[in-house]
Amino acid sequence: MDGKSSRPRSKQWYWLFLLPFIGTLWPPFYAHAHPIVAGFPFLYWYLLVWVVLVGIISAIVFAITG
């Protein structure tokens, strides 16, 4: 258990995971038609961006906390 002393601090990075919940489970943020990108109304490409973001957030937390 060599990493025990540093663990509580590194686990704080888990709070980053609240972001996708806030970003995708509160429809007033994104239930709009505009701006349209490449034919996609806002809601659709916004959620697509979040799919990529959630992977990036996991990658960051994984890289830091292992």
Binding site: F21, T24, P27, V51, G55
Partner: protein
Amino acid sequence: MNWSAFIVFVILFALVTVVGFWAARWRRGDLSLLEEWGLAGRRFGSFITWFLIGGDLYTAYTFIAVPGLVYGAGVTGFFAVPYTIVVFPILFVVMPRLWSVCQANGYVTPADFVRGRFDSRGLSLAIAITGILATLPYIALQLLGIQVVLEAMGVTGAGIMHDLPLIIAFGILAAYTYTSGLRAPATTAVIKDTLIYITVIVALIVIPARLGGFGHIFAVANTHLLAAPKPASIFLGPKGYWAFATLALGSAFALLMYPHAITGVLASKGQRAIKRNAVFLPLYSILLLFIAMFGYFALAAGIHTKVSSLVVPLLLLKEFPAWFAGFAFAAIAIGALVPASIMSIAASNLWTRNIYKEYFKPTATTADESRVAKLVSLVVKLGAVVFILALPLTYAINLQLLGGIWILQTLPAVLLGLYTRWFHRSALLVGWLVGMVIGTAMAASQGFVSIFPLQVGGLVLPVYAAVWATLANLLVTVVLTWIFNAAKMARGVDATAATQYQDAPASSIGA
């Protein structure tokens, strides 16, 4: 009969069959042990785990039902996207703990864990029964995926001849799952995903170009949806906010409580493999968003059907040459076999460990366990075939919907149990029962729709019934725990140790 589609389909199906049987020799282990047959020795690395959990999450039913829902109900069907966004942080945070405690104690099922953690046979039985009940209709619905593509290819006949192709397909699946165990879906999942990714990428290049681009597709789809007898839209209005968000959140937690998802997690070789999968599994969610778009493609392509499960097959037939439609149909059918195999293994593990061994034959050896589990996996699939052929399809769909509500009622014991033992075992059991009854009653009262409009003060909140039921479950569990603890009712002995939940040092476990 569409011969060119059918020939491509049969060739790919034959390939999967060969691989499924060959899997028994892959990473050879003693398949007479349940840990080997049912969890493949807990040795899967990040790569295979990705395919296995991907196979769990993205089933033939997903490919058929989500675009079907979008075709009929518009944007509502896209709740599947936030659902498959928030599920991965939960996977990252929670599942390594479950893996760790299960590995340390040799647990194979979530009910094993609950039995050890809360020292309660009754609670463990409740978890096992809930898991089996929720899984069976899900397996039956995978058959629907095979059935619709066979139908789309014009494979028809009278009486038994009509059902024979489906029975043959499931017979093959049952045989290789019996011999190879979890190794079979793990290897065939690689083929499944290759076919699915190719199909979706080709469809995204070809279909929007043929239909006049995404902007045009959205516009035409919206016109059709607004003009429908039950008007819908591609835009989410304020009235749909609650349902959209709670369906996503409830489904995300429910998914990870399903026995087949837990089987996929427990079969990995370590915590790091699970976390790495949380990083890379969202690739499937990108795919899912575009698969959901198929519903709009179908509207824009002028597909007319009252049967929502036929939306995708009809679209593929219309927009692709026959041989490529056959390729895509094989992707859907094989996409049914992979999860059906994992689900039947998960249900067998539950039956064997938590019902057979616990109640019928406590002296069962590991060889007995494996033998029983293999046989039960056959029975489960036979049951699914009878279910889908003998009963109206709505039964399977309604039961699958209820299954999602039911499985979420295991969350307090399984998921919260990973973090605290404060809950009293009897309180968890009563809470579970309350959640099951309330959730079922809510769904049934709406004619088997997952959204229940509850009057809260002057406000009507249309929320996913599973979320209401789980809130009731938690409330009862907390209040009764407080009462039972105050009354000093026996709490049993925790068979797990606090250290077994911790993250292992990066160097020692998993890759």
